[in-house]
Symmetry: D2
Subunit: 159 residues, 4 copies
């Protein structure tokens, strides 16, 4: 159950990315803080709310690549999720500041996927990792090929 250690190092000249020195992989990252609204009566973040954090990670990765998801949708595409997963090592608590790390997991003709790692900003503790897989559809929900903006973001992602 222990994940591979995650050892982020600053990316030269661009604080929006880090390189994990365990795997060599580059990740986009964004800071976020836990609200009271996110917690449950056990004192930790309710499990479903991590998908909000993943959405934020994904949205900011696309925005920082200059193709915000809103523009993707305005160009006629929707990317519903068809599969997702999440594994916890530790829980986040109220008011804790986190890093949400996001990178592409896959891209094929009709699907795109993202991987996520959340760490605690203060302690560096590994909190969880997860993924979401999306299929490309048009606005009526029919499957289509992945749009050109998403392909461009994928190809331009630092490595």
């Amino acid at each position: 159950m222990r994940p591979t250690p995650f050892r982020p190092k600053a990316f030269p000249c661009d604080p929006r990315y880090i390189r994990d020195h365990t795997t060599g992989l580059v990740w986009h990252r964004v800071a976020h803080r836990v609200l009271y609204a996110d917690t449950d009566r056990s004192g930790i973040v309710y499990h479903a709310n991590y998908f909000r954090y993943f959405e934020l990670g994904r949205a900011e990765l696309l925005r920082d690549a200059e193709f915000p998801y809103r523009s993707v949708e305005e160009s006629g595409y929707v990317y519903p999720i068809f599969e997702l997963g999440l594994s916890f090592v530790k829980a986040l608590r109220y008011d804790e500041l986190m890093w949400v790390h996001t990178r592409f997991r896959e891209l094929d003709r009709v699907r795109v996927g993202f991987d996520y790692v959340i760490t605690s900003s203060a302690s560096g503790d590994y909190i969880c990792n997860g993924f979401t897989r999306h299929c490309a559809t048009n606005q009526s929900g029919s499957p289509v090929a992945v749009d050109p903006m998403t392909i461009e973001v994928y190809n331009a992602f630092p490595s």
Copy 2:
């Protein structure tokens, strides 16, 4: 801050309505139970989540009058909220079963409003009261007159 006492009595032949013997008013009611997802780390229901319960109360009032809100929307109307309020006497806790009581607050040419009272099913305790006010719009968001279905539900509400 103490609200008027709420003394619900069963409505003859229809368990979906009660009459409050303090005010004489008739309310629709529906039972609902608190999920873990609704609570926050102080152990009680997070305040914003009461509006989910109010939505449930409103939806079931309309459904029991045979004009579910989905049909109202399918007939071309949307009812965005322009004002809402909520006052607490006591908090709901995890797994607590509640009654959500709902009745019309107002109906005029372009607006409709609902009042809500939530009580604990087990103890009868008064939990909170609140209201939502909605304006009638068409699907492009322009103000229109309240639709015929809603007027019919309003006129048929038991008194």
Copy 3:
């Protein structure tokens, strides 16, 4: 991606359970309806909200076995989730009535897991399946053995 077909048949004398005639497995089930609050601007239920439905399924399975999760917690145990997953075949829409089917996935000395299948009540359509895996902890969050109530529910689950 197509899941095994799900062919629920009523369970003799107990409407809270069904047998899936494709696999022969028994599932607990509970009905639930989509709120406006659950949807997002693409018109379907936001993916994270399915974990609310799973929580409901899990809670009602335990309640119907006479050991509601609240009693489990009151006896000193907490069951945080350490892994979860979800695969969609189809999306739920506003006001749609669903069946949430739940059964044990596993039980070992320190962990318990549940599987879920959601179907549309009206059409019978397969919506999604998923799972949650929980570890037993005491109230300070230290790992402990699974509590006796949960073991009893597991052993008594119809087969």
Copy 4:
């Protein structure tokens, strides 16, 4: 229904505050962006989710005054909401960037309240205003006098 116009001007030397030149009042402010998770199927932010934004405004006001709410709770106090309200002029949409403006509404021996105004960052449009009123309790939920940190933040709030 039209609120008083809101004409924010930068506050000398401190971008975390603005003065509204219509009323002369000083407000704390923080930027925030609408997630997909916040929207509903009508395409706008679901009304209950504005209370998340208000929580953010309140939390950042306290943090910027160097008494984050977490510290207040750690010193033995909890501030449950006993009343809240919200009036909309316009709706926020997906991905829209907002300013959440927050200021004290009241402070007496046992209660504290906040006022909120949300505007669209891009257009400057007035979106909504609202308030929350909180009573001071100890960790067992009994009413107590407002804690010294909160009084200090109230007294130090710029005017």
